[in-house]
Amino acid sequence: MKNNLHLLFLIAVIIFFFSACVKDTDFDQTDDIVLETVLELDFIFFDINSQNFTDLGVNNTIISDTTNLDFLGSEAASENIIRVDFYFRNTNSFPVSLESQYQFLNDNNEIKYELTIPIQDGNVNNLVITEFTEIIENNDLIDFMMATKVVVNTIANTSLNNIDGNLDLQSKATYYLRLEQ
C-alpha cells in the first residue's frame, strides 16, 4: 500500500514537471516592436573671412562649396529616418547682412531640397548670432532623402573687399529614426 502511494507520488511529480504552461502572454507582439531613436550629429562648420569671397559683380559677392552626403541617399537611411531637424548657428562680424543657401542635390545635380538663411549684420566688436532651425518631414523628407550632396552658398549683396569680419557657422542635424519590421 505504501509502495503504491510512493509510485503514485512519483508519477504525479513527473506529470507536474511536464505540465508547465505559458499563459497570459502574446508573442505576436514582436510585430509591434519599434525602435524610436533620436540621434544628434554635427553637420558642417566653417569660419571664413572676406578673402574667401569672390566678387561676381560690384554688388554681388559669393562663396560656394560642396560636400557629398552619401549616407542620405542610402536605402537604410531613407527607410528608417522619419524626420530631420537642422540647426544652424551663424556668428557674423561682417558689418553687412548675408544670405546662406543650402541646396541638397541628387547625383544628377537636381535640387531635391533647398533652404535659405538670412544672416544679420554684425561688427568685429559686436558679434551677432543668427540661429535657424529647419524641420524636414513628410513629403519634403521623401525628396530630401534623395539628395546625396549639399551645395553651400553664402552671398553678400555688396563687395567685402577690405572689410574686416568673419562668418562662423556651426550646425547640427537631429535624425529621428523609426526602425520596425
Partner: protein, 471 residues
C-alpha cells in the same frame, strides 16, 4: 528580428540560473552526483548510464527579466515595457544558456575500494551580459544624453560547444573522509569570446569650439573565435555538421581540467562536503580567428574650406576624406594567434544535518552500525554555489531537505537564493526500481503554472543501471 527574439525567449522557457545544479548536488542516489562532487560517498558497486539518456540537462535564463515582463498580454504598449526594463537592468545582468547531453557514463569499485567513474558528455555554455549603455543608445539615441560616456566595455559574451572526456576516482579514505578527483580532457568544437573590451562613445559640447558638439569614440574591442572560421567556407550545412562532429573525437582544440571534491562526516549527524568542478583550461591552437578594433577619433562634422571659385578643381572630397580619416583612426586586425581560456570554475560546498529513521549503512541494512556509517532517512542543510564568470563570480545559497521515502524512492527539495532570485524552489526525485535508477530534477517550480513569469527554469533527468554492493 522576430525569430531571433523567439529564440531568446525559447531559451528563457527551458533554462535555469547559471550552471548551479543545487538539487542534484549531494543527491548520492544518482551516479551523476559524482560529476558535481567526485568526493561523494557512494555505495554502488557498478553503474552504467543508459547511453544518450543518462543525463539530459537544460539550463539558462536571465538574471533580471522574464518573458512575461515583455510579452504580458496587457494594454500597455510592448515598447513601453521594453524601455522600462532597459532602465531597470544594468551591465551586470546577463542572459545565459547551457545544456549537457551525456553520451556515456560508467563506474565500478575495485578491490582496493576505489570507485572509478568515467564517461563522455557534450556541453554547451553561453553567457551574454546586457550591454545597458549600448541598449540605451540603440533604443533612445544620444540626443538626451549629451555629455554621457556610453561604455563600450559592457560588450561581454562567451560561448562554448565542447565534448568532455573524463575519468575519476573516489575513495572513502577513512570512516570520516571521502575524497575524489576527476581528470578531464576537453575537446572544443566551437568557441567564441569577447570579454576584454573597453572604450566609450560620448557626444559632448565642443571643447575646441569648431562646431556645436564633439563625438568622441575610443574603442579597444576584440573577439576570439576558434572552430568557426573554417565553417564559413562550407556551402552545405551538412558539411559543417560533419566537421563539428569529427572534432568531437579529440580532434578539436584540446584542454585539460580537473574536478576535486571531498565529503567529511563530522559526526553521526553532521556531514560537510565541498568540490571544485572544471578547474582547467582549453588551449585554442587550431582554426583560430580573432578580430580586434583599436583606436580613437573625435568627430566634429564636415569643415568646408571654400576653395576659390575661379579654381578649375572640383570641390575637395570632404565626405570621403572624413570616412578615410575615421577608418585610418581605427586599426582593424584579424589575428591568428593561439590563446587559452579558463573553463568557468564551479565551487560547491554544503553542510547537512542527518536525522530521522536509521536506514542502514554500507555494511548492510541491519541498522546496528553507529557513528559515521549510520545513514538516516532524512537530512536538511545548506549549500553554497559559486561560479566564475567573465564579470566576476555568481553566488547562490540553498536550503535543502532530503528524505528517503523508501528503498526505491528518494526526494530532495531546495530553496535557493542568489543575486537575482529570492524564491527558487527546486525538487528532485530518484527512483531505484531493482537495478534501474531514474531521476528527474527541476527548479523554479513556483512558476510552473505560468512558465513565462520565470526568469529561469531547469530540467535534468536521466536513466542509469546501478548494481549495489549488497546485490
Amino acid at each position: 528580428m522576430k525569430y531571433l527574439l523567439y529564440c531568446i525567449f525559447f531559451f528563457w522557457g527551458f533554462s535555469l540560473f547559471s550552471q548551479n545544479k543545487e538539487v542534484l548536488y549531494g543527491l548520492d542516489e544518482t551516479p551523476q552526483a559524482l560529476l558535481l562532487n567526485p568526493g561523494t560517498r557512494i555505495s554502488n558497486k557498478y553503474h552504467f548510464g543508459i547511453p544518450l539518456i543518462s543525463h539530459l540537462h537544460f539550463n539558462g535564463g536571465s538574471s533580471g527579466i522574464s518573458a512575461y515582463d515583455i510579452f504580458q498580454n496587457t494594454s500597455v504598449d510592448i515598447n513601453t515595457r521594453i524601455r522600462k526594463k532597459i532602465s531597470e537592468l544594468d551591465g551586470r545582468d546577463f542572459f545565459t544558456a547551457s545544456q549537457q547531453l551525456e553520451i556515456l557514463n560508467f563506474g565500478w569499485k575495485n578491490k582496493q575500494e576505489f570507485y572509478f567513474s568515467g564517461g563522455v558528455y557534450q556541453e554547451f555554455d553561453f553567457i551574454f551580459y546586457f550591454p545597458k549603455d549600448l541598449a540605451v543608445l540603440a533604443w533612445e539615441g544620444n540626443a538626451n544624453y549629451i555629455g554621457k560616456k556610453f561604455d563600450l566595455g559592457e560588450v561581454n559574451t562567451r560561448g562554448d560547444l565542447l565534448m568532455v572526456y573524463h575519468l575519476g576516482a573516489t575513495k572513502r579514505w577513512n570512516k570520516k573522509l571521502t575524497i575524489g578527483a576527476r581528470a578531464k580532457i576537453y575537446s572544443s568544437l566551437l568557441s567564441f569570446s569577447s570579454t576584454d573590451n573597453s572604450g566609450t562613445f560620448e557626444t559632448r559640447i565642443s571643447e575646441s569650439g569648431n562646431n556645436i558638439y564633439e563625438h568622441v569614440v575610443n574603442a579597444n574591442l576584440s573577439i576570439n573565435t576558434s572552430g568557426i572560421a573554417s565553417l564559413s567556407d562550407l556551402e552545405d550545412p551538412s558539411q559543417a555538421t560533419n566537421k563539428i562532429l569529427n572534432r568531437a573525437f579529440l580532434s578539436g582544440n584540446l584542454g585539460l581540467g580537473i574536478d576535486l571534491g571531498a565529503t567529511y562526516e563530522i559526526n553521526e549527524k553532521l556531514t560537510a562536503s565541498a568540490s571544485f568542478v572544471d578547474l582547467g583550461a582549453i588551449f585554442h591552437t587550431k582554426d583560430i580567428e580573432s578580430y580586434t578594433v583599436n583606436g580613437e577619433y573625435t568627430l566634429d562634422g564636415i569643415e568646408l574650406l571654400f576653395p576659390p571659385l575661379v579654381s578649375t578643381d572640383t570641390a575637395p572630397p570632404y565626405y570621403d576624406d572624413l570616412i578615410d580619416e575615421i577608418e585610418d583612426a581605427f586599426t582593424v586586425d584579424t589575428v591568428y594567434n593561439s590563446y587559452s581560456q579558463m573553463r568557468p570554475l564551479k565551487i560547491y560546498s554544503s553542510l547537512k544535518y542527518n536525522f530521522g529513521r536509521p536506514v542502514g549503512s554500507d555494511e548492510g541494512c541491519d541498522c546496528l552500525n553507529t557513528g559515521e556509517n549510520q545513514k538516516y532517512n532524512q537530512s536538511a542543510g545548506v549549500q553554497f554555489f559559486n561560479m566564475f564568470r567573465p564579470k566576476g563570480p555568481q553566488f547562490a545559497a540553498t536550503l535543502f531537505y532530503y528524505r528517503k521515502l523508501s528503498d526505491y524512492l528518494t526526494f530532495k527539495t531546495t530553496y535557493t537564493v542568489d543575486s537575482y532570485s529570492y524564491n527558487n524552489i527546486g525538487l528532485g526525485l530518484v527512483a531505484d526500481i531493482k537495478m534501474i535508477n531514474f531521476y528527474i530534477v527541476a527548479n523554479n517550480l513556483q512558476w510552473y503554472s505560468n512558465f513565462a513569469k520565470a526568469k529561469s527554469v531547469s530540467l535534468q533527468m536521466g536513466l542509469n543501471i546501478i548494481i549495489d554492493e549488497n546485490k
